[in-house]
């Protein structure tokens, strides 16, 4: 874990004091809403449909038990006893009152947390592989450079008024769990002949114009990282369009100018600014890397784990879906599902947060992660302790064995909370999960990612869902469009639109028809939904979705 310096602490304290004064001036009428809005957004405070919403950054999704406990305390004291984990590894509070927000920010600062740059046209919270530092398939832990980028981008004077928001994701593994190709900048740590470097991908993004990122540099030397990133954002800052909000993201800049042109401009800018980086960034990185040293992994017997697998079918089912391979012998990565069937995806109660914090302290080297798929991870748990961890999770409604399955749905807040939404997402996610739980089919169906967005901005990543659902307003009625075959991994693919949308009543049966069609179409049980789709294409799934059309044509 990164340890805040005196500078970090003083910076947050001053920033929070400034915001407290700004809130006071808004309440006493000295500031109009037009004057106050950019100030509150810089501090993560939105005004949503029914209330304010405070978006707190969880940098690269990493936090410790004390921080998670504080998030629970804040939920109890100033909100409604829960928090919502988001696809940018943040947590959102849906019901804060304006007067309380400065106190909430002070409470966060006490545990080295903040809400800075969780909104606005700035470089947003840097996301990372949620298995960082634990995954068996990792070249290097991506969090040190994520922290370096956080420090560099926070309050960066050149980048406070970019043409549009700017999102950076980092992974240290070829298996991309951080959707780096759908980010403004995606960084993959790679090794060549034993030397570490970075593959830099730019111009990816979802939203209204989904694009897969393009490789700008295939092996950037370590010491060039910050000057190179600064060159990219600098080129975008000047070249990116400010005349049209919908064409302002770097994906459009890259698309309109071409990757070659952008590369030439970045190289030119890089040559100019590189000498200004005197090596302090590398000294800082070295200090950060020390903070992220792996914990002292223990050696213990795996017998309790094997015993529980043999004798407890529920534990076996959970360990089949919710564990991933750890780099240390005897250890596992535990994904805690925040997707109990019928509940709101990503919502954890304060009780659940405290429980997860205490499990992390007791069994998990005091580390937790938030995944972009809205689940919580205990990255380092020895197999010896898994039966105890599972028992505690299950008792708190956190033992759902569904990671990567059909009910492990990403859903944005949609029109239940969001002022931008055009339709609801949460009830659709709840109904799909409940329906497939009733059918008892999800383990038979196997890996299947459903992702739901309540508007075209695609916070729910629907374009990269194997089944994507986009909620729209069609003539004053909620309408849900389906895309198929999307993929958010290293093989990133934008899903293909299946056809006309469905009403709120029709969408659950439509998804059910799709999944049943897959079960009939798959070559063998091991062939996943995505593999079947890739093999057969849209046509057979389209017939399942629109049976009436088929009948009409045949007649």
């Amino acid at each position: 874990m990164y340890h805040y310096t005196d500078f970090d602490g003083a910076f947050l304290k001053e920033r929070n004091a400034q915001f407290r004064a700004q809130v006071e001036r808004r309440i006493d009428g000295s500031l109009t809403e037009d004057e106050f809005k950019p100030l509150r957004l810089m501090n993560g405070l939105y005004l949503q449909l029914h209330a304010y919403m405070l978006r707190v950054a969880i940098p690269y999704g990493t936090l410790n038990g004390r921080q998670m406990t504080r998030l629970a305390d804040i939920a109890d004291k100033w909100d409604k006893g829960y928090g919502h984990f988001t696809t940018r590894q943040n947590i959102q509070y849906n019901w804060p009152e304006l007067r309380d927000v400065p106190d909430m920010l002070d409470a966060l600062a006490e545990v080295n947390m903040h809400a800075i740059q969780t909104s606005g046209n700035t470089i947003r919270n840097v996301t990372a592989d949620h298995f960082a530092g634990a995954a068996a398939d990792e070249v290097a832990d991506p969090r040190p450079i994520a922290e370096l980028i956080r420090q560099w981008s926070t309050d960066h004077p050149e980048f406070q008024f970019l043409p549009r928001k700017f999102k950076v994701a980092v992974t240290g593994s070829e298996n991309d769990r951080a959707v780096i190709k759908a980010h403004d900048i995606g960084i993959q740590i790679v090794a060549r002949d034993g030397v570490i470097g970075y593959k830099i991908i730019i111009g990816g993004g979802l939203g209204r114009t989904p694009m897969i990122g393009k490789v700008l540099h295939d092996f950037l030397p370590q010491e060039d990282l910050l000057p190179y990133l600064e060159a990219i954002v600098s080129v975008y800052n000047l070249l990116g369009r400010r005349d049209n909000k919908y064409k302002a993201r770097i994906k459009i800049t890259v698309h309109e100018n071409g990757i070659e042109d952008i590369r030439a401009r970045v190289d030119e800018r890089f040559a100019l600014i590189k000498p200004l980086f005197t090596g302090i960034d590398q000294q800082t990185l070295a200090r950060i890397e020390a903070d992220f040293a792996a914990p002292d992994f223990k050696t213990a017997s795996e017998a309790p784990y094997h015993h529980a697998r043999q004798h407890d079918p529920l534990f076996r089912s959970w360990s089949d879906t919710n564990l991933a391979k750890h780099k240390a012998p005897g250890y596992a990565i535990v994904s805690i599902s925040i997707k109990a069937h019928g509940k709101t995806p990503g919502d954890a109660t304060s009780y659940q947060m405290r429980l997860m914090a205490s499990l992390a302290k007791r069994y998990g080297h005091d580390e937790l992660r938030i995944s972009h798929e809205q689940n919580v991870i205990l990255p380092h748990v020895h197999k010896e302790d898994l039966p105890a961890v599972y028992a505690a999770l299950k008792a708190a409604g956190l033992g759902t064995a569904n990671i990567g399955l059909i009910s492990d749905i990403i859903a944005c807040p949609g029109m239940d909370y969001c002022a931008l939404a055009t339709a609801r997402s949460i009830p659709i996610a709840q109904d799909i999960a409940t329906r497939f739980d009733e059918l008892k089919l999800e383990h038979d169906v196997g890996p299947l990612k459903i992702k739901i967005s309540g508007c075209i901005n695609a916070c729910g990543h629907h374009h990269v869902g194997h089944i994507g659902i986009l909620g729209l307003d069609r003539a004053g009625v909620e309408n849900y469009q389906i895309t198929l075959g999307g993929d958010g991994t290293q093989d990133a693919t934008i899903g293909e639109r299946a056809g006309p949308g469905f009403s709120a009543d029709e969408i659950i049966p439509a998804v059910e028809r799709l999944v049943l069609a897959y079960l009939n179409l798959r070559a063998e049980p091991a062939e996943t939904f995505l593999q079947t789709y890739t093999r057969l294409g849209l046509a057979p799934f389209k017939s399942a979705l629109y049976p009436e059309t088929q009948t009409a044509t045949a007649a």
Partner: protein
């Protein structure tokens, strides 16, 4: 012939708590049923200007289309329906007891 004027209510969010509020005969209310139904365009525009001037109490004032159902304003669009009712996944906001009183 000019287009007939769709009845409207004045709505906004409360500055301090963010809740959806409406203009009634006696001031702001959390309850759409108590909102004043505006049927005259010139009157609606004037009332909107007056309401929007209360910048130390409210945020984002606008006119929302409604249907007049025997004197009770009812949302035309589903977004206004959700604003008037609150979220569908929890009984929070307006669905909590005691939240319908005068603002």
């Amino acid at each position: 012939m000019p287009k007939p004027f769709t009845p409207k209510v004045i709505t906004a969010n409360a500055l301090l708590e963010g809740d959806v509020i409406y203009m009634s005969a006696t001031g702001w209310t959390r309850d759409l049923a108590r909102a004043d139904i505006l049927t005259d365009e010139a009157d609606a525009d004037l009332r909107l200007i007056e309401a929007a001037a209360q910048t130390d109490k409210v945020v984002g004032v606008y006119l929302a289309d409604i249907k007049d159902e025997n004197g009770v304003p009812t949302p035309v669009h589903f977004r206004e329906d959700f604003r008037a009712r609150g979220p569908s996944n929890y009984a929070h906001g307006k669905q909590e007891a005691g939240k319908q009183e005068q603002f």
